[in-house]
């Protein structure tokens, strides 16, 4: 098996750059090499949502802007007939789901090489993102269990508030591979005043 290179492989890491008051109020970490599966199908067709929950153990989120998760997997609503399944481990295979969905009109597509997750947190993460994101990130309207597709610095992203086991409240940004480097550099620039910390592993190889 040859080496893998994540989309953020070019971002120098780990690094700490204190802001104007000597603090770092923003951190970023890449969660690379998850399994990303795009699923399209009709949730009203019989057996569709059952297939998803049987394989993932998660009830298919049918309400817009919501996501659900289990220990190994997350499912995010992308559209009325579209979801993103993220397997935390590389062995989250899509064959069992493909088998169950086979009789139904659907499309299950592997995007694992095409996108990555940038996890951001720290006291000022909302302010840093607000420099280029028109979506309202206030915890009143956007908390755990929610997700939203929007733009940051002209880059399409999927946002999912999460609890980081080590660092608490955080946000997962799912971004397309080719845009990931731009997005990370934008966020570092936007966070310069607050100071930022890049946590290993960024761009794991």
């Amino acid at each position: 098996m040859s080496a893998k290179h994540s989309p953020l492989v070019e971002i120098e890491t780990p690094v700490i750059r204190p802001g104007s008051d000597g603090q770092t109020l923003f951190w970023m970490q890449e969660h690379a090499f998850c399994v990303h599966l795009n699923l399209r199908g009709d949730p009203s067709s019989s057996g569709f949502s059952e297939a998803v929950s049987a394989v993932t153990g998660i009830a298919l989120p049918e309400h817009p802007n919501t996501c659900a998760s289990s220990e190994h997997c997350r499912v995010a609503w992308l559209g009325p007939d579209e979801w993103l399944l993220i397997g935390v481990h590389e062995d989250f295979g899509h064959a069992p789901l493909e088998d169950r969905l086979a009789p139904l009109h659907h499309a299950l597509t592997d995007l694992s090489g095409g996108q990555t997750i940038l996890r951001v947190g720290g006291e000022n993460w909302r302010d840093v993102l607000a420099s280029a994101c028109p979506f309202d990130l206030h915890p009143r309207v956007f908390g755990e269990g929610a997700c939203a597709q929007t733009v940051i610095a002209h880059t399409n992203v999927l946002l999912m508030p999460v609890k980081d086991p080590d660092r608490g409240e955080a946000l997962d940004i799912v971004v397309r591979r080719s845009f990931a480097d731009h997005l990370a550099r934008w966020l570092m620039d936007a966070a310069a005043e607050d100071g930022f910390e890049l946590l290993a592993p960024m761009g794991s190889a």
Binding site: V9, S20, F135, D136, S178, A190, E193
Partner: protein
């Protein structure tokens, strides 16, 4: 230098600290809390600049954003900022400022000759004089602009950083005077998300400039308590030094926050942004923007020393500056009297209160009487006299009952300061920008907000309520109800008691008649910055202008950096009088963003430079290309390797080498940027039949086909190869630049026109790393890298796809070629793209494998006559024009088909794709060169086409070009001429657009 005019006590300044600064090269000092204007006034400076057109000496007239005269250039070198208002510039240690238009010096100004010639410079003078003949304007313009000169732009790059911030709130309160403060408090106590935005360095608004008692305590103490409570609430955001500059659709407002200007230049390596442009979406808006006092319009009303009455009070109370030794007041309403009281209390000798009205309000009358100030009711100041340092004395005259004539000259009164008040203009700018129509209020002689169009309400002085008690009540109501309407009903606030004065009504007097001392150069200014006078407005009316919008443009009224905050209402009222209408009938000009100027830096924010201006998309192999020294080309947002120069190698040498290596051995191209769309469902081939011009019914799994997509207008929109993976599963490739548009286009047809088609689309562009290994040794390289498939041409023919492994990595391998060579296009999960690329480079070492860039790719494909959509097509080219009728099915419908038989699309003599060979084979035509039929032609020369692609082909040893030529397909072998920019004429022979291997023997091998 002493502070001759600084008061001993009072003011919101810190006397314990001195701040040194320079104005026009001279050293001064002030204190924290000062503005540039207040510090200079404190030291007796009265001359602040020269006017734009007549270069008349000007002093400071206001104390805030309305100031038209005291414009300064602040800072040096790259940090220099033009046209700041001295009334808004906060002092910092070492500040340097210069007058913007006092060339060559403030005291002796060559431009002042315009003042002597002013009879020759009426409204519209520049239009009338210099626009004829039209061609001469360019010559005049330079000199006029130089003479006009409003500051200068710095010539160095801006070293400051700027950013933007999106914000969302339930209630946005604009203005933190008493109205805005109480509104914000009433709203915030509900728990709503409240933003309070204020232009000044500290909250308080009018309370900073005038004494007031609120709820039994000093107004500023009350304001501090409110501010403290607001700051304690977690959902409240307060922005100071921040101006709401625009009110746009759907309650979207822009705010320019000035974060460091009061600190002076910030070193460029400090990560602090100078300004931040807020983009706020508010559920509800409370406008509490206050009102701006109006000047009175009389001869010489621009003389330094003539100031707004409220500004005089502000300098005394806020900055502890008495702007002169002696003063007088000229007013048409009660509020002007306050300046007389304040001046007296500040130790100035107040020699007259001149009131247009025959009766003043009881409270102000008795207050002034108590101080022994003489009051002249029914009088006016028709003119003033001035010396080198500004105002010396005013003329006093009795006004006729109808206000049209001077009845008698009453003598002169010596004074250095004349505080004027012509009433108040509510700041309705944002209401108007929101779509509201201000309406005229006869009683108060001002425009107040009309009906709300968006979710906004105005409260306090900006709604025409000028008493403090009314402001507090309206502010409280507005804040509480705005919160409730945004979904937060729990707001509340007790309205504290404030003293009310018994007032007499204002008496409008839009223009003071000329007095006994009037010479033949009477000048009553409306717009001080543009030197627009009352007579300019009347002249415009005489010349037939009726609309205030036209008069504005003809006379330049309101075009300055102050946007007519002082002069516009007076101007439109004089126009109304001249036209025999009411001001309400004439109406205001449109209030447009921005309320005050915004720097370009703030508009740009962080979106600067190569990295952040626009997303830079990189492939998984990007780092390798960088290490290899590639030059990059922007293709859409992608960075693609353009060519890989070796040490000392120029572009042409590199491209020639890359082309020859590919044709003779093997080259490799990073093709990952091509758009890739996964198409799935039982109706996939039906859908492809609608999208593409050719037939897709019979494509077998594992086979690939090239297709053209047309717009419904029949013009080529995109092209690419689509592979059948299974009967209900295809993988489409698009052009690099067209990927997103094609995906959106396909989804649109599926969602809106053919929802019955069972097809799902998923973009997989980023998932696959794609590399094209091309050349006679391509097969050998793939074999060497290790592949579990039979790669022979018979087992794995051209235009087919198989899945297998290359170098141990699962891959899709396609026999497709854009180079005209035997090629293997290998696609792998992009996480392993770099590994595969490196494996192929290693495997190709013995074959001298050469990475090639987009330029070599262009040459190779042009040798084959393959078009590039967007280069050889331009949205007006059909497949038939490209000589590719074979790809257009006659049997089925597809998008754009009907358009191919439209009379224009179907006509002969359309521009058609041909090849060109220059008769001198070394001569490479420039792309875009226009083609004509004759070497020497009389103008106008009929253009018959243009060169769309042109290269030197190292393999063929000559230049080749593709061109679109009228009727070109029937002109094979003919000669055509390119007329170039340098005057040379290059003859070329028209030929078929395929220069290399027309039988496709190589691609099939």
């Amino acid at each position: 230098m002493t502070s001759a005019r600084r008061l001993q006590g009072g003011g919101l300044i810190d006397r314990s600290r001195r701040i040194r600064f320079k104005f026009n090269g001279r050293e001064y000092f002030g204190h924290p809390g000062d503005t540039l204007a207040s510090a200079l006034l404190a030291q007796g400076v009265r001359l602040f600049g020269r006017s734009f057109k007549y270069h008349r000496p000007r002093g400071v007239i206001g104390a805030g954003a309305e100031e038209p005269n005291a414009l300064v250039q602040v800072g040096e070198g790259a940090y220099s900022t033009p046209n700041l208002k001295a009334t808004q510039v906060e002092l910092y240690e070492g500040l340097t400022a210069r007058t913007v238009n006092g060339w060559p010096s403030l005291a002796f100004d060559i431009g002042a000759i315009n003042n002597r010639l002013s009879r020759l410079l009426p409204a519209g003078f520049y239009y009338k004089t210099f626009m004829w003949p039209k061609s001469a304007w360019m010559r005049y313009e330079h000199h006029i602009r130089h003479a006009a000169g409003l500051g200068h732009t710095p010539s160095l790059p801006d070293p400051d950083q700027y950013d933007k911030r999106h914000a969302h709130c339930d209630v946005l309160v604009v203005g933190a005077g008493p109205t805005g403060l109480i509104a914000a408090l009433g709203a915030a106590r509900s728990g709503a998300r409240v933003m309070l935005v204020d232009e000044q360095s500290r909250l308080g608004g009018s309370l900073l400039a005038a004494p007031a008692i609120i709820g039994g305590q000093a107004g500023l103490d009350w304001a501090s308590e409110v501010e403290a409570e607001l700051r304690s609430l977690p959902e409240v955001t307060i922005l100071s030094r921040s101006t709401v500059t625009g009110y746009y659709d759907h309650n979207f407002l822009s705010v320019n926050e000035r974060r460091t200007d009061h600190l002076g230049p910030v070193p460029s390596d400090t990560p602090i942004t100078r300004e931040r442009l807020w983009r706020i979406r508010a559920k509800q808006v409370v406008l509490a923007t206050g009102a701006i006092e109006r000047p009175l319009v009389f001869d010489g009303n621009d003389t330094p020393g003539v100031m707004l009455a409220s500004a005089v009070s502000a300098y005394i109370h806020r900055y502890a500056v008495a702007p002169g030794r002696s003063g007088a007041v000229f007013t048409n309403n009660d509020s002007g009297y306050q300046a007389a009281i304040d001046m007296t209390n500040a130790g100035m000798e107040v020699r007259a209160v001149v009131d247009v009205r025959v009766k003043a309000g009881a409270d102000v009358s008795s207050a002034v009487a108590d101080l022994g100030i003489p009051v002249y009711l029914g009088h006016v100041v028709p003119s003033v006299q001035s010396g080198l340092q500004g105002l010396k004395r005013i003329e006093l005259a009795k006004l006729s009952a109808d206000g049209r004539d001077i009845l008698s000259h009453k003598g002169l009164v010596d004074c250095q300061i004349l505080a004027v008040s012509g009433g108040w203009s509510p700041v309705v700018h944002l209401h108007s920008q929101s779509g509201g129509r201000p309406c005229y209020q006869e009683g108060q002689a001002c425009f107040i907000p009309g009906a709300s169009v968006q979710d906004e309400r105005s409260a306090g002085a900006c709604a025409g309520s000028f008493s403090l008690a009314a402001c507090l009540q309206e502010g409280a109501d507005a804040g509480v109800s705005a919160a409730a309407q945004s979904g937060w009903p729990g707001g509340y606030v007790d309205v504290p008691v404030a003293a009310e004065r018994v007032e007499a009504a204002l008496q409008p007097l839009w223009e003071v008649p000329a007095g006994a001392l009037a010479g033949d150069r009477v000048k009553k200014f409306l717009d001080f910055q543009n030197d627009t006078t009352a007579s300019d407005i009347r002249l415009a009316a005489r010349e037939g202008y009726r609309s205030i919008e036209h008069v504005k443009r003809y006379t330049a009224l309101g075009f300055g950096t102050d946007q007519g905050k002082l002069g516009n209402i007076n101007g439109l009222a004089i126009l109304a009088e001249t036209l025999g209408k009411s001001p309400g009938e004439v109406g205001t000009t449109t209030f447009r963003p921005n309320y005050t100027p915004v720097t370009f830096g703030a508009v740009a924010g962080r979106a600067l430079g190569e990295q952040l201006f626009d997303p830079v998309r990189k492939t998984a192999i990007h780092a390798w290309h960088v290490r290899r020294g590639a030059m990059f080309e922007n293709v859409g947002q992608w960075k693609r390797p353009w060519f890989y120069p070796r040490e000392g190698e120029g572009m042409h040498a590199a491209v020639n080498r890359e082309c020859l290596a590919t044709r003779s051995s093997v080259g490799v191209l990073d093709a990952s940027t091509l758009g890739k769309i996964d198409i799935r469902g039982p109706d996939a081939s039906r859908f492809l039949n609608l999208l593409y011009t050719n037939n897709w019914d019979n494509l077998q799994p594992g086979r690939c086909r090239y297709g053209f997509m047309l717009g419904e207008d029949g013009m080529v929109m995109d092209d690419g190869v689509t592979t059948c993976i299974a009967p209900d599963h295809y993988l489409m490739t698009t052009t690099t630049g067209g990927a997103a548009a094609v995906m959106a286009w396909m989804e649109r047809w599926l969602q809106t026109e053919w929802p019955e088609l069972k097809v799902y689309l998923t973009s997989v562009t980023d998932h696959w790393s794609v590399m094209s290994v091309a050349g006679p040794n391509a097969r050998a390289v793939i074999k060497t890298a290790g592949c579990d498939l039979n790669l022979d041409a018979e087992a794995f023919p051209f235009m087919s796809m198989q899945t297998g492994e290359v170098a141990g990595i699962p891959a899709r391998i396609s026999r497709i070629s854009f180079s005209g060579e035997s090629a293997f296009e290998v696609s792998v999960d992009a996480n392993q793209g770099l590994s595969l690329w490196e494996a192929i480079m290693t495997a190709g070492r013995d074959y001298d494998i050469t990475p090639y860039g987009t330029e070599a790719m262009h040459v190779l494909r042009a040798e084959k006559g393959y078009v590039i959509v967007g280069q050889d097509t331009d949205g007006s080219v059909t497949p038939v024009d490209l000589g590719m009728d074979w790809i257009v099915s006659k049997k089925k419908d597809f998008i754009g088909k009907r358009s191919l038989s439209r009379s224009d699309t179907d006509r002969p003599n359309r521009k058609q794709l041909v090849g060109l060979k220059t008769q001198d084979p070394s001569r490479v035509l420039p792309e875009g060169a226009q083609l004509v039929n004759t070497p020497q032609a009389e103008r106008p020369v009929p253009m018959i086409g243009h060169v769309s692609s042109s290269y030197y082909s190292a393999h063929l040893g000559r230049s080749i070009a593709l061109a679109l030529v009228k009727g070109g397909l029937s002109r094979m072998g003919g000669t055509i001429y390119a007329h170039l920019m340098d005057g040379s004429v290059v003859p070329a022979t028209i030929c078929a657009p395929v220069f290399f291997d027309p039988e496709n023997e190589r691609t099939k091998s």
